[in-house]
């Protein structure tokens, strides 16, 4: 469980970034944080993994304030994928990169080697490749793999799909979904509202350092007021579903006014057209 209790944070006294943020994320959730650049999303992620400490309020991991935990204790519980994979890649081969986390935690040995071999197979990496010669999408996958291999109970991802093409995006998100299915808590910052709609089960909207909406994905994505406050645009199918009843009031109670996904909208339109 991750819990924020009335958290305030700033980078110096003049620039306040978070202004009284509270939420709870129970184990096994898949949460997306959305909002404009500068809303405080990345700061919230840094507070979760202890890179930043709150000015006031508390950030608790399983009931313990992060201020009372050592960095290594947090690192074992919380994996963190930076927005730019080059911020975390530091070794000269893929294999060394994947072993790096175990070395940093003092957990080298046959189990670590076996875990690395498994991840190399799962991701289809060339173990001897130089990470810095890989393309952007593969470097992102390697950065993700270096977290997956440690199997932390919580995985935080800051914009995991930025700069990736559609196929790479689906591959990265597929791996993240599988992590969640086997029990990991996923907390992700994401600007791509289609990805949020496809993968997250809960959405927290931030604006100007505060939480302005928090709930099941489509409850939030269908709330134009909260999205508007954060200058966000709903995913396209939701946008259409919200627009149609406004264009023709006979559609207010119809299934097209409730459709959230492509499949739901296609079925709803077929049903409506058949009447």
């Amino acid at each position: 469980m991750i819990e924020f209790r009335d958290v305030h944070a700033s980078y110096d006294e003049d620039i306040k970034v978070l202004d009284g943020v509270s939420f709870q994320i129970p184990d096994g959730e898949f949460v997306a944080f959305v909002g404009t650049n500068g809303a405080g999303k990345s700061t919230t992620m840094r507070l979760m993994n202890g890179l930043l400490k709150p000015d006031a309020g508390q950030v608790l991991l399983d009931g313990v304030p992060t201020t009372e935990l050592k960095t290594s204790q947090i690192a074992r519980r919380v994996g963190f994928l930076f927005q730019n994979p080059d911020s975390q890649i530091c070794c000269s081969t893929v294999r060394e990169e994947l072993l790096f986390g175990f070395k940093a935690l003092g957990e080298e040995g046959p189990d670590a080697e076996a875990a690395v071999d498994g991840v190399i197979r799962e991701f289809g990496f060339d173990a001897d490749a130089d990470p810095f010669l890989l393309n952007r999408g593969t470097r992102q996958l390697l950065a993700l793999a270096s977290i997956v291999v440690l199997a932390p109970p919580v995985v935080i991802l800051d914009e995991p799909t930025t700069g990736l093409d559609f196929r790479e995006c689906m591959k990265v998100m597929g791996i993240i979904r599988r992590l969640n299915e086997v029990g990991a808590t996923i907390v992700m910052v994401c600007h791509d509202m289609e990805v949020v709609a496809d993968f997250a089960r809960r959405v927290i909207v931030m604006s100007a350092g505060a939480v302005v909406d928090d709930g099941p994905t489509f409850d939030v994505l269908r709330n134009p007021h909260a999205l508007g406050r954060a200058s966000l645009i709903p995913p396209q199918v939701v946008d259409i579903s919200l627009a149609l009843p406004l264009m023709d009031e006979r559609l207010v109670e119809s299934p097209v006014a409730l459709a959230n996904t492509l499949d739901e909208m296609q079925a709803a339109v077929s049903e409506e057209a058949g009447r």
Partner: protein
């Protein structure tokens, strides 16, 4: 404005050409969007347009690339940069000063723009990108979106005939991404500037581009108005290009025999078309 004929390029260190047999015409004043999977050759095409290829990256160059009637192989990079303004994928690698105003001044001074015209050019460029209020700000204190706009403004100040931008909205939120496209389109329309944008956000390209160019394996698979290209949503998906959901929805309904109208490029078009389908 941009004429590419039988262009093939192989980087010195790579075994095979990254771009192969490309022929492409982008007339003056056109807003062209380029997309495709990673490694398909999109950025290499833009390097050919702004002269980075062949002047900075050595390799085997076949065919011809002319911009505003000038052969990019024979012109110097300095002369090309007067016609073509470029914004890189990595904004931090492009920014050289620490204050917004200095960043916009830098190019103007390097190009020898007379001192009495510089003030107006700086103001005009900052206003065109909607960041006049950031003029005195330290660049290090700006958000990613604001930095992106500073980089574009510093190129607009030079009054290029062609603007080449490589993923200018990669790190921006949806509202800022849309705003950058709106500002670019308005500037291009008012000044007759030719714009070439490489972008993964296909919904924005579909809405703003006059021509949508799909690159796959170093070759151009489609180069046509977005409406024509998006009609091929299944084929595009195989090339790693996902159409906007509004387009996919209407294409699916067309395949199911429920919709017979033109391809829809955005939410507004799809909503209006759907109203008729369910009427």
């Amino acid at each position: 404005m941009i004429h590419i004929q039988d262009f093939t390029f192989r980087y010195r260190e790579s075994e095979r050409p990254v771009v192969e047999g490309v022929t492409l015409d982008i007339p003056a004043g056109v807003f062209a969007g380029i997309t495709g999977a990673a490694g398909s050759g999109k950025s290499t095409l833009t390097y050919a347009m702004n002269g980075i290829i062949p002047h900075c990256y050595p390799g085997d160059f076949y065919g011809t690339v002319t911009v505003d009637g000038v052969d990019t192989c024979t012109a110097t990079l300095t002369d090309l940069s007067r016609a073509v303004g470029s914004v890189c994928q990595d904004i931090d690698s492009q920014i050289v000063t620490s204050i917004v105003e200095d960043e916009v001044l830098y190019g103007l001074e390097n190009f020898g723009v007379p001192h009495d015209r510089i003030e107006a050019r700086v103001t005009e460029a900052l206003e065109a990108m909607g960041i006049a209020d950031l003029r005195e700000r330290a660049i290090a204190s700006l958000s990613g979106g604001q930095k992106q706009k500073v980089a574009i403004a510093s190129v607009l100040a030079l009054h290029p005939k062609v603007l080449v931008l490589d993923e200018p909205t990669a790190e921006l939120d949806p509202a800022s991404s849309r705003q950058v496209f709106e500002l670019l389109a308005a500037y291009a329309r008012d000044n007759g500037t030719t714009v070439v944008v490489v972008e993964q956000k296909i919904a924005l390209l579909s809405e703003f581009a006059d021509v949508l160019i799909i690159v796959d394996g170093g070759r151009i698979r489609f180069a046509a108005p977005p409406r024509e290209v998006l009609a091929h949503s299944e084929e595009l998906l195989e090339l790693g290009v996902n159409c906007p959901r509004s387009t996919t929805l209407m294409n699916r309904l067309a395949n199911a025999g429920l919709y017979t109208g033109p391809v829809c490029c955005d939410v507004r078009e799809a909503s209006e078309a759907l109203l008729e389908v369910v009427a």
